[in-house]
């Protein structure tokens, strides 16, 4: 493996805001004045925290109804999976697949990738770091798209307000699921990918 000069072995600190190199003992950036850290503080602990919280909220998100449709007096709730099955049964399989990807595959993919990245950083599997970074870029890119289902529910609630004739209300899962998405996005942002490349474990 090639040897690279990094900020660790040249005694510098990178400001993540303005990409300016500071000396290793600097506390604030000389260019923009923000706090500089060698690596993001408590990165792995914070990421794990957000992942555990997201996993907890994933359970009600899949069991509670996403939205409650009242049509001529009859209320009917439907969970995420039932909504997907509805689309596939009524000939709109492509939309069903999109919602399945956005609301079931992507959250699970994000959480498992983050756990994999944390183990790369913790067990110092440096040979996997470049591959891990590629995975990290994918989850950073697709993160926001899992909010798609929440937005669809929101638009339906906003559109269908005909008092007794037909009415759509947001169910408990929509709240739990939006928390899952926000927590996984926070987890992605608090993970510092440079930790995967570091050769030695540093003391705090």
């Amino acid at each position: 493996m090639m040897h690279y000069e990094t900020d660790l072995n040249t005694n510098t600190k990178l400001c993540l805001k303005c990409e300016c190199l500071n000396s290793a003992d600097a506390l604030t950036c000389k260019q923009c004045g923000y706090k500089v850290y060698l690596r993001r503080p408590y990165s792995i602990a914070l990421t794990l925290n957000y992942i555990v919280a997201a996993l907890l909220f994933l359970i009600p998100a899949n069991l509670l109804p996403m939205m409650i449709i009242t049509s001529v007096g009859v209320a009917e709730g439907s969970t995420i999976m039932e909504g997907i099955r509805y689309f596939i049964n009524y000939g709109e399989a492509s939309i069903g697949v999109i919602i399945f990807l956005a609301s079931i595959v992507i959250p699970i993919y994000k959480i498992s990738v983050l756990l994999f990245l944390i183990s790369i950083a913790h067990f110092k599997w440096n040979y996997l770091a470049v591959f891990g970074l590629k995975l990290y870029r994918t989850i950073r890119f697709i993160g926001k798209w899992s909010l798609l289902d929440i937005f669809v529910v929101a638009i339906m609630v906003g559109m269908v307000q005909f008092q007794t004739l037909a009415n759509v209300q947001a169910g408990g899962a929509s709240f739990a699921f939006s928390l899952v998405v926000i927590l996984t996005m926070l987890a992605t942002e608090s993970f510092d990918p440079r930790l995967m490349f570091d050769k030695e474990r540093r003391k705090r």
Binding site: L21, E92, R137, V152, V157, G158, A170, S174
Partner: protein, 199 residues
Amino acid sequence: MIYKSACKECGVIVEYEKNDLNHNYYCPRCRSVVYAPGERFLYIIIMALAALVSYIPTLFLPVLTLDMAGRLQASTLLDIVFTFYHDGNFIIGVLLFFTGILAPLLMLGMLLFMLIPLHFGKSLSGTHHVYHTYSILRHWAMAEVYMISILVAVIKLENIGILDIDAGFFIFIFFLICFYIAVLWFNPDDIWHNDALRN
């Protein structure tokens, strides 16, 4: 002039030409973009202004009209948000309002606030605070998710009544295109070393 920096994603020390308008610079180890030249400030300002102008009608023109057994309901983007306040589900309402409506508007305002003084050769003292907020908001502006979800909702509502897509939706798409072109053209490096880009 050679500028020394480090890769944000893997920490390798990289060197690049300051204000090089023709080349992208990549990290030798992880191949992430270290420096990509931004477009001229004037072009970004024009795009941001176009987005801002098309943004105002999207808020007040109806996006969709639903005709159900003779009863019409036209909804603007703001109407959709405000039904949540009446329902009591206001956390989702706030999320929707912030990510779909407020964050893009704030980002546009900040872009103009940063770039208009720089275009005329002045630099305001608060620029780095504004950029700090802007870089956080970039992750939370989800107007394009909002747009796609309108399309999904159209298909979902087809069985309930007759649906019309109104002018607001097309202006919204126009806004999105202008907004993302402005965001993509803007390169934050140019704020810090902008001497060559002023003209």
